[in-house]
């Protein structure tokens, strides 16, 4: 219960600090907050926007939850999201299922590059996953300007995918997939031997090793699953929302997943609520940009404030 309170407090602090920052530059904090609110949940349209944004956030959030629970620093959600989208596009000619499967495989493979470098060369995955993000971004740039460019050759984007997720009243079926993934992640972590080993490795890799767990392989598996989740996020976003790939396809979903996961205190089911909160924040920030010409970077700023506030409260709590 207390952890829930901490999360709520962190979220509230973030919003307040955002309003305060706006005030520093002459905006009225009240109007800022009200635009945030109405822009995210104030209308049917806004709500739909929030839900749409929450879906990829939920999946990238789950990606981070699984990785961090295993003690692996997967900061590569951004890149895994992108290659997931790329694979989904290419495989889309064979239908939705094949497309999403390809997305998961691609995400897992991209993450596994970092895994392999850690296993064989002791390269810290916290750095390699980030470097792979930049690599993926430019891979995407090359693809949409080059081999995958649309036939009309007008904009740097691809042709629409060969498949699409069915629409359900303003949102797409991806929402069902995302929630299912959340439940699956919970089941995996808390109801299977693999999940127990994964969590044990995350808490104490030494003790895990002494208990007979092959830590290296365990971490590699966790990375792959984590990457698959982020890849799936990309695939779902492609087939459900954007239908095409373009240069800013990932738009920070990968990094946002970290904030989503931490606010959810690394619990798979709580990630749903956390993703909704950040979905609202991003959507509201978009409205802020439209209505008050305030940079949408404020949403990224807000994510960081949430994380930092969480750290402060965790710290205060553990000192008592």
């Amino acid at each position: 219960m207390r952890r829930f309170g901490v999360a709520v407090l962190a979220a509230a602090s973030a919003v307040l600090l955002l309003a305060f920052s706006g005030a520093l530059f002459g905006h009225s904090p009240w109007s800022l907050l009200s635009i945030l609110g109405s822009g995210s949940v104030g209308s049917r349209f806004a709500l739909a926007g929030t839900l749409l944004k929450a879906v990829p956030l939920l999946l990238t959030g789950l990606s981070v939850v699984i990785a961090f629970r295993a003690g692996v620093w997967n900061i590569g959600g951004e890149g895994q999201f992108i290659v997931g989208g790329l694979a989904a596009l290419v495989a889309s000619r064979w239908g939705v299922v094949a497309s999403l499967a390809a997305a998961m495989l691609a995400g897992a493979a991209w993450a596994s590059i970092a895994s392999a470098m850690r296993l064989w060369r002791n390269a810290p995955e916290v750095l390699t996953t980030i470097l792979l993000n930049f690599t993926a971004i430019h891979l995407l740039g090359w693809s949409v300007n080059g081999p995958l460019r649309e036939h009309a050759a007008q904009y740097p984007q691809t042709d629409p995918a060969g498949a699409a997720l069915p629409v359900l009243g303003g949102v797409h079926a991806g929402i069902v997939l995302a929630v299912a993934a959340s439940v699956f992640a919970w089941w995996l972590l808390y109801r299977t031997a693999e999940g127990l080993r994964l969590r044990a490795t995350g808490f104490n890799p030494n003790a895990a090793r002494w208990a007979g767990i092959r830590v290296g392989a365990q971490l590699a598996r966790a990375m792959a699953i984590s990457g698959a989740a982020a890849g799936l996020a990309g695939g779902v976003e492609l087939l459900g929302v954007t239908h095409r790939l373009f240069e800013r396809f990932a738009a920070g979903y990968g990094y946002s997943g970290i904030a989503v996961a931490l606010l959810a205190q690394l619990h798979p089911l709580a990630t749903i609520a956390s993703a909704l909160f950040f979905g609202a924040l991003v959507t509201g920030a978009g409205e802020l940009q439209r209505a008050a010409n305030i940079s949408a970077g404020l949403a990224t700023f807000g994510q960081a404030v949430v994380i930092l506030t969480l750290i402060v409260f965790e710290n205060v709590r553990s000192r008592r």
């Binding site: 031997a193 999940g195 003790a207 007979g212």
Partner: protein, 424 residues
């Protein structure tokens, strides 16, 4: 000179020090004896001023230096650099300058430690112990406190240490040394104070007492099957299936245990460091017990845990208790339960009774004997000679990573001191 009066100190629910008064005069060598957990280290940390007492007063004349059991040396730096850490303000230095100063410091203490340009990581355990001693003595304290200084020394090195202690005491320093090795205590101390469960239970001049009396004071009850501290090899209780590898800590035991762990995955492994390598503190008892299982079912795991708790007399509130909340002895029981219950054909136990009280130690020995009687072959890696001789039918000595040939307990009791010191 230190005068402690009615000191109490509580950590959470445990009373580590319970109304203790004692004093040490200049030039005296006093030994503080007792089992693990008796409160000796805590009391001395209070005496040295490292931590504050909850009640009572500390009267100290001059400064007190405490040499800890676990080394506070920087492995990556050289001897000279480690000594320089204690002595500088801000200034520019060169390697030659620091090494010269280091040699001067070492010479001033009268202890021998050559080649100060060596990295601490290259030193033997005995040399590191010397360096810690040099650090402390060089600061010319009025009181010198040594915490289990001989636990990692060979008999030869122990003799050298005692010579230093006598010299330093002769120069007027008050010396206190904490130890649970009774023969040593009587060899060098003038006065012995025995602690048990946070209180002083006995105090006498060394010449007025003997090992048996001290041992009796240290424990609540003596059981006939238990080896008395200090008596070696006069009990033929060793079992054929149990092999012991003995040696002073730091001679390759950890590496050996880790190698065996990776090479014999089907065997049971009891790690040396139970809190770091043994249990996962954040998981429940049931989860810890299930770490080696192929499948997980919450209800079965809980039931299994309840069975183990009963079987191994684990003091816990239930299968869902966080393993990190258990006491050391009970954590060790959880590890034992996990490893032994599967009845593996081979068991490697590294320092299985380190830090445990008498009752827990006895329990562990019983379990190991039972497993051996059942047919398992047991490899016991320990620095406790009594334990080795009480349990094993075969003994080997490890020194600097190499094993001696296998010996019978009789043969070992003759040669073990020499082998442990590296003297063939």
């Amino acid at each position: 000179m230190i005068h402690l009066s009615h000191i109490t100190k509580t950590f959470g629910p445990t009373r580590a020090v319970d109304d203790v008064s004692l004093e040490v005069q200049r030039g005296e060598i006093v030994a503080l004896a007792g089992e693990n957990g008796a409160g000796k280290t805590t009391l001395m940390r209070i005496a040295a001023g490292e931590i504050d007492a909850d009640g009572g007063t500390v009267n100290r004349e001059g400064r007190a230096e405490l040499v800890h059991q676990h080394f506070l040396l920087v492995d990556a730096l050289t001897i000279a650099e480690n000594l320089a850490l204690t002595h500088l303000g801000f200034r520019f230095t060169t390697r030659r300058m620091i090494e010269r100063e280091a040699r001067e410091i070492i010479a001033g203490t009268g202890i021998e430690l050559r080649d100060v340009s060596r990295r601490v990581s290259e030193l033997s355990v005995g040399e590191r112990s010397k360096l810690e001693l040099i650090k402390a003595i060089a600061r010319r304290p009025a009181t010198l406190i040594l915490d289990e200084p001989t636990s990692v020394l060979t008999p030869n090195e122990t003799g050298e240490l005692f010579a230093v202690m006598r010299r330093v005491a002769g120069e007027g320093t008050a010396v206190v040394f904490i130890s649970h090795k009774l023969p040593e205590v009587l060899a060098v101390a003038q006065r012995v104070i025995v602690m048990r469960a946070g209180r002083v239970v006995a105090e006498s001049a060394a010449r007025d007492t003997n090992v048996q009396a001290l041992a009796n004071a240290m424990v609540v009850a003596q059981s006939p099957g238990l080896p008395v501290a200090g008596q070696l090899g006069d009990r033929v209780t060793g079992q054929p299936n149990i092999k012991a590898i003995v040696g002073v800590a730091g001679n390759g035991q950890s590496e050996l245990a880790a190698k065996l762990r990776d090479e014999h995955r089907e065997a049971g492994h009891i790690p040396e460091d139970r809190s770091r390598d043994g249990i996962v503190a954040e998981l429940t008892i049931a989860e810890n017990l299930a770490l080696k299982a192929k499948r997980w079912n919450a209800r079965d795991a809980a039931r299994h845990a309840e069975r183990m708790i009963a079987l191994y007399s684990i003091r816990a509130s239930g299968p869902l208790q966080r393993a990190g909340d258990l006491s050391g002895g009970n954590q060790q029981k959880v590890i034992l339960a996990r490893e032994l219950d599967r009845r593996p054909p081979m068991i490697v136990a590294a320092e299985p009774t380190r830090g445990l009280d008498i009752a827990a130690t006895r329990f562990v020995h019983e379990q190991l004997r039972a497993a051996a009687a059942d047919g398992a072959s047991i490899l016991l890696i320990t620095s406790d000679l009594n334990e080795a001789f009480a349990l094993a039918g075969t003994i080997q000595v490890i020194y600097r990573g190499r094993l001696s040939e296998a010996m019978t307990p009789e043969e070992a009791s003759r040669r073990v001191a020499a082998l442990m010191a590296g003297v063939a």
